[in-house]
């Protein structure tokens, strides 16, 4: 994608660039350290934009993209006999089967790569937000310095693709839910500095509000207010003499904000501008396109049913933002303890709805980007912090404290599903951005424990591969407190070259 597509002027770009340079010089922002002589040379980028689709809460591989033997629900079935609670379905790729409920994704599998052997870290007694921290920063928490999120590293290293669009956009996660503060701990630019932090859009259905004047203020008053501010600024005696750095950075930041709010790119945030027919393609059947999602956070399955279209609208928003030149976009199904993918009970019934949430929108996102000629330079990564299993908590050889009671025999539907946290295998889907098409990476056991057998993928290597696609060396580091902080843990990440075409 070339910059000229975004109808921005050279002046805009320079204005923004010099702000960043000024900031980096004067504010003590961490320096980028050039990779040493033995470091991997800067890879050639195959993607300009990264979209992470986050399945927060632990997406069971055996119920989604790595189906195993199906055991239908029947009163009194043995728990340990249940590997999958859905039958497998065919995809357009011969050697890849999906779990029932992912039919639309099955039809686009020939556009992407499926990793079945993502292995999460060993962090002991499971806490989702710690694993999410590790997935998003590449480092297990806690750290002695504030580790930056993947999106912040990308934003800092590559800068914005379109200067008016925030380079790190985070869609769908609220922070006033359970473990909200733990989520904030990694949803941050950390020591890289807040210029590269997330632009949060917690409610995809209300995204337009994030780039609109404050509630109750029309566009005219908004413009008048800004004009009035500039007049006062001109009169302020401080504004008339000298040009100290702090003042400049303040003025420039307000300029940037105002530029975004009044730019054509801001329209990308407004889903109301999307033709109804195309909105519907991102919504599960029966979901009203104009809906504002509200539901009680109960664990009986009603929450998931009532918020069915939330993630889909996030995907649609991601497509619109990718079109105007966003650099990093994350869309989450949203992590709320014990809800969405975090099934401690009713796992089967809730997954019917979770799959509805993702199947159509993700497939449509792939197709839309392809149709617009953007898929080749946009890498889509669908991932989760770990998987789930009905029996094993942790890894077969490193089991950890159980959090869910599992009866020997399943009498009630609520016990039918993957309710424990499994870290020895998990699925990652990749589309576009130079990855192979129709490729399957890694193999897991067909009997319990359904663990990784071949081609284990760990976070360091997954990140190294993502960075590789973006043209960022895995050994790139930033200096903090006089030491290097690498973009993959200790610079150890190795790109998995088999993933790329």
């Amino acid at each position: 994608m070339s910059l000229s597509k975004h109808s921005l002027t050279r002046r805009d770009f320079l204005g923004r660039a010099s702000a960043a340079t000024l900031g980096a010089l004067a504010a003590g922002y961490p320096r980028q350290l050039l990779a040493g002589a033995d470091a991997e040379a800067k890879p050639k980028a195959t993607a300009d934009t990264l979209i992470v689709l986050w399945m927060g809460g632990g997406m069971a591989h055996t119920e989604t993209f790595d189906p195993k033997h199906y055991t239908p629900f029947d009163k009194g079935i043995e728990s340990k006999a249940v590997l999958s609670t859905f039958p497998a379905i065919d995809t357009v790729v011969d050697n890849i089967k999906f779990s029932q409920g992912l039919e639309r994704l099955a039809r686009v599998m020939d556009r992407g790569t499926l990793i079945r052997t993502y292995t999460a870290g060993d962090l002991g007694f499971i806490l989702h937000s710690r694993h999410q921290y590790q997935w998003h920063t590449g480092y297990p928490p806690p750290q002695t310095v504030a580790a930056p999120h993947l999106g912040a590293v990308v934003a800092r290293t590559l800068g914005p693709l379109n200067p008016v669009v925030p380079p790190f956009i985070n869609i769908g996660q609220r922070f006033d839910v359970g473990e909200g503060e733990e989520l904030k701990a990694f949803t941050t630019a950390g020591f890289l500095g807040s210029e590269f932090g997330p632009f949060n859009i917690p409610y995809p259905d209300q995204a337009a509000d994030t780039v609109r004047p404050p509630a109750g203020m029309g566009p005219d008053r908004f413009q008048d207010r800004n004009k009035f501010y500039r007049q006062l600024l001109e009169q302020s005696p401080i504004g008339q003499h000298g040009s100290d750095y702090q003042r400049q950075s303040l003025l420039r930041s307000l300029d940037n904000a105002h530029r975004l709010l009044s730019s054509p790119a801001a329209k990308a945030f407004d889903l109301a501008l999307e033709p109804l027919e195309s909105v519907k393609k991102y919504l599960p059947e029966g979901v009203d396109p104009g809906v504002t999602f509200k539901a009680a956070q109960t664990r009986d399955g009603s929450y998931e049913r009532q918020t069915l279209g939330r993630f889909g609208l996030g995907c649609l928003l991601a497509r619109r933002l990718a079109e105007v030149g966003a650099r990093y976009i994350e869309v989450t199904t949203e992590y709320i303890p014990f809800l969405n993918w975090d099934t401690h009970e009713n796992g089967h019934t809730r997954l019917v709805d979770m799959k509805k949430q993702i199947d159509g929108p993700v497939a449509q996102l792939v197709l839309d980007l392809e149709e617009r000629g953007l898929l080749d330079r946009t890498l889509i990564v669908l991932a989760s912090e770990f998987s789930r299993d009905l029996i094993t908590e942790g890894k077969p050889d490193k089991t950890v404290k159980d959090q869910v009671e599992v009866p020997d025999k399943i009498q009630e539907l609520k016990h039918y599903g993957m309710h424990r946290h499994f870290t020895d295998a998990g699925c990652v889907l990749l589309f576009g951005g130079g990855v192979k098409k129709g490729y399957l990476h890694g193999r897991t056991a067909d009997e319990r424990p359904v663990k990784t057998l071949e081609k284990r993928v760990v976070i360091e290597d997954l990140h190294a591969s993502i960075y590789h696609a973006l043209g960022i060396p895995a050994k790139l580091s930033y200096e903090i407190e006089r030491r290097p902080f690498y973009v993959t843990r200790d610079g150890l990440g190795q790109p998995i070259h088999e993933l790329f075409a």
Binding site: Y29, P141, P214, L232, S243, D244, H258, R483
Partner: protein, 830 residues
């Protein structure tokens, strides 16, 4: 080993070797000639080693060999690198290394990165080479600079005209050396804004500012400094922000699941409000009791954490960083590459907090080696290797706070200087081994603090009353990056809390209640403690404080009000739990009797008959043990009438006592006004709030002080919100000792259309309009004076009046508030 700055000091006192550091302009040009050699015998350890360690070792020692040149020993140094021998003993003028560090060739200057050597330093190196490069056999270069541990006595230069303030006396020779002629001091209004913000975090009100401007005392600035420092509560509310950041306190987040963190807010607030001497403050954090243990306890995560982040290692890192200006983070994982701290040092300190010696883990691999308890500087005293934790921690606290520990005082006075003048005497403020730009100043302030019983306000007062503090502010870009020269305070930015408080003081809209109502806001002025209504612990039986059966008891108190109150707060606690209703509406509940709850109960109170009804329950000790145990309920409430014109509002107090009624039969409507409490009995009074076994006198008083200040609470006491987070209030997962001041786009977006600020301005504008009826011009004048410390110009007044409209429109005020609060003149401290 003596640090680098000693070199300059020693030389300066010896005589005319050189003019010292060149002026800024000269520093960027190549000198025409090599500076002369020092005319005295040099000592390798004192004179030369620090220069090599500060300027050369990054590229030429400890395995680094840029240009094949290594300086780890005399032989290697002499041998030189790709460009030939570095030095010829006895002939410094012809030595390659001297030509390079003197910068004769602008394209070949050493060091290639970082500050250039001063002529004094070059002269020392020359003398060393001329004297045959003496190098003590086997002496190794350190991995970084080292500041001395001991305090250093500095003789104050005589006062000459102008200021007798020691800071100014110390800076006079500095200015002379730098060729700086300090400009005139800032005017009163600028000084006032700075001083108010720096001591209390608040803008002066128009009345306060006018009074100060009108003050005719010659020493009115010193008087103001003292007055502000004496405002204990305001001071504590402001400096709480600084200490919360440094001690990573007051954070709801990570690690709180499973109870892995502990707040120290009530202790910290009281320590600040009473200006606890700093040595005691540190001792109480290092060797804590239950109230101050959160800092050393650290963050205990669920699950397994990296060996370099166990709670004990966190304690070692944080104590070193915050109190000693030492970074132990590298050494927590392996022997540091950038300092001489070893893995064993980090574990030695960490294991003071561990009940048994810890196994050293190097880069996640256990080494089999066990730690030996010790402090970083054993010369400060032996840390007891006792099995008794209390003894160990006491000996550690003693070592750290010993007067011989000059690092403790240098680290804190440097932090205070940095906070008030925008940049430390040493930077970064957590790396106290770095050379200061004025060693005499740093060492003098440090010793002076110890000599004044570690009174931080004393140091603050010294700084506030110095001419240095009162110089015009200097932009960050005018100071020079590599070689900082002090010319005046750096332009600073309001912190998130200062910004919020400034808006609050403009609009009169503050936070309602502190996030933690156990902080005693009146701690700094017990005489000003608001008198609490008399209230007694009550229950259904008079000996309930000793034992009462586990059961539910319903209480009610009916009363009549001549008008609906404008404000009503209650402090409530019950052993074990309560739910409180006002006229049938639930107003709050709690099951933690140790933490009296503050409730805003105004919403459902009415003119006429009202009832406060409490369902209280005494729990059984366990399912199996239903034996009687202590039970009690305590309620204090104060209701105020709506503020009338001129007259003080009426006040009604309510406290639980024998006029309250109880029953063990819950009848329908028991919590409603108008319920006929037939058969209900008068409550039994057990005793005052301090009654055992609860002993809650202090907690109740603290809660009451919070309640008494309802609606006037500062931002530092409130939970973080999206606006403050965007403006840089940290999440306090890591120690933070300096906030970023750069403005960012995300911040500006939050300021431009964020809901938090928009809502605050909207309510604030309405409040302003209601509180200050009158002409638009009056409102504009007042806002300018308050926000910017000056009156608007005629043009500004006209522009603002046009926006505000006549009669004043709330929307116009909102836009004026927004525009003013975006001005650099408002957000920056000049």
């Amino acid at each position: 080993m003596k640090p680098l700055w000693l070199v300059a000091f020693v030389l300066a006192s010896i005589g005319p070797v050189d003019t010292g550091a060149p002026s800024l302009a000269a520093a960027t040009e190549s000198p025409k000639a090599i500076p002369p050699a020092a005319r005295r015998k040099v000592a390798f350890t004192e004179d030369i080693k620090p220069i090599l360690e500060n300027s050369c070792i990054k590229c030429h020692a400890h395995g680094q060999k840029k240009g094949a040149f290594q300086i780890d020993s005399r032989e290697l140094f002499l041998k030189g690198g790709d460009s030939g021998p570095a030095a010829s003993a006895g002939h410094s003028g012809e030595s390659l290394v001297i030509k390079l560090v003197a910068g004769l060739d602008a394209d070949k200057i050493m060091p290639a990165k970082g500050p250039r050597l001063t002529p004094v330093q070059v002269g020392l190196l020359r003398a060393w080479i001329d004297q045959g490069l003496p190098w003590k056999e086997g002496l190794k270069l350190s991995r970084g600079a080292h500041a001395a541990l001991a305090p250093r006595k500095v003789t104050l230069p005589a006062a000459q005209g102008g200021s007798s303030n020691p800071i100014d006396r110390l800076l006079r020779p500095y200015y002379a050396k730098q060729g700086i002629h300090p400009p005139a001091l800032v005017e009163d209004r600028v000084f006032a804004r700075r001083a108010w913000l720096d001591v209390t975090g608040l803008l002066p009100t128009p009345e306060q500012l006018e009074a100060f401007l009108a003050d005719r005392h010659r020493d009115k600035r010193a008087r103001l400094a003292r007055q502000l420092l004496d405002q204990n509560q305001r001071y504590a509310e402001h400096w709480l922000t600084f200490w919360n950041d440094a001690l990573r306190n007051d954070y709801r987040g990570t690690g709180y699941i499973d109870g892995g963190r502990k707040q120290i807010s009530p202790w910290l607030f009281s320590a600040l409000a009473t200006n606890m001497p700093f040595d005691r403050f540190v001792a109480r954090l290092v060797n804590p009791d239950e109230h101050s243990e959160g800092f050393a306890k650290g963050i205990v995560w669920r699950g397994v954490v990296n060996a370099s982040q166990t709670p004990q290692i966190q304690a070692a890192q944080n104590i070193s960083q915050v109190f000693m200006g030492i970074n132990l983070k590298c050494a927590s994982c392996h022997d540091s590459f950038i300092s001489d701290w070893k893995l064993a040092d980090a574990y030695g300190l960490a294991s003071v907090y561990a009940d048994a010696p810890l196994e050293l883990v190097r880069c996640d691999k256990p080494t089999g080696q066990m730690s030996q308890r010790k402090f970083l500087y054993p010369q400060l005293g032996q840390v007891l290797d006792s099995t008794n934790r209390a003894e160990r921690l006491q000996s550690l606290a003693q070592a750290i706070t010993r007067p011989e520990n000059g690092r403790l005082t240098r680290t804190i006075v440097n932090r205070l200087w940095a906070r008030l003048l925008g940049r430390g005497i040493v930077e970064p403020v957590d790396e106290m081994d770095n050379p200061p730009w004025n060693a005499d100043l740093l060492d003098w302030l440090a010793r002076d603090l110890a000599a004044h019983r570690y009174d931080l306000k004393h140091t603050l007062e010294l700084i506030l009353t110095s001419r240095a503090y009162q110089l015009p502010a200097v932009g960050m870009d005018e100071q020079g990056q590599d070689r900082f020269v002090f010319r005046g305070p750096t332009v600073r930015r309001l912190t998130a809390e200062e910004y919020l408080d400034a808006l609050s003081s403009l609009t009169g809209l503050w936070q309602k209640l502190p996030a933690n109502t156990e902080m005693d806001l009146s701690a700094g002025s017990a005489s000003a403690r608001p008198p609490a209504p008399p209230a007694r612990w009550v229950w259904s039986s008079p000996d309930a404080a000793k034992a009462a059966p586990p059961q539910k008891v319903w209480f009610r108190k009916a009363f009549t009000l001549p008008e609906a109150p404008g404000q009503a707060l209650a402090v409530v606690t019950a052993d074990n739990r309560f739910t409180l209703h006002v006229n049938g509406h639930e107003a709050g509940s709690s099951d933690k009797w140790e933490h009296p709850k503050v409730l805003d109960i105004r919403a459902h109170l009415v003119k006429g008959e009202n009832v406060i009804a409490v369902a209280a329950e005494n729990d059984a000790a366990s399912k199996e043990d239903a034996s009687p145990n202590p039970a009690g309920l305590l309620v204090l409430a104060r209701l105020r009438g709506a503020a009338g014109a001129g007259a003080a509002p009426a006040v009604w107090d309510l406290g639980s006592d024998a006029t309250w009624l109880w029953s063990t039969n819950k009848a329908d409507g028991w919590q409603e006004a108008g319920f006929r409490a037939e058969g209900w009995q008068p409550a039994a009074e057990l005793g005052a709030s301090g009654l055992a076994p609860w002993n809650l006198a202090a907690q109740v008083a603290a809660a009451w002080a919070s309640a008494a200040q309802f609606g006037t609470i500062r931002a530092s006491l409130a939970n973080n919100d999206p606006l403050m987070a965007a403006l840089g209030r940290p999440n306090r997962e890591q120690v933070l000792t300096a906030r970023a001041t750069v403005a960012t786009t995300l911040q500006a977006l939050e300021l431009t259309n964020g809901a938090t600020l928009a809502d605050l301005l909207k309510r604030g504008a309405e409040r302003l309009r209601a509180d200050q009826p009158g002409a638009a011009a009056d409102l504009v004048n007042r806002l300018y004076l308050h926000a910017l410390g000056r009156r608007p110009s005629a043009t500004e007044l006209a522009l603002a009046q046009e926006t505000v409209h006549e009669p004043v429109a709330a929307g116009g005020v909102e836009d004026l508030l927004w525009a003013m609060s975006m001005l650099p003149e408002f957000q920056l401290i000049y």
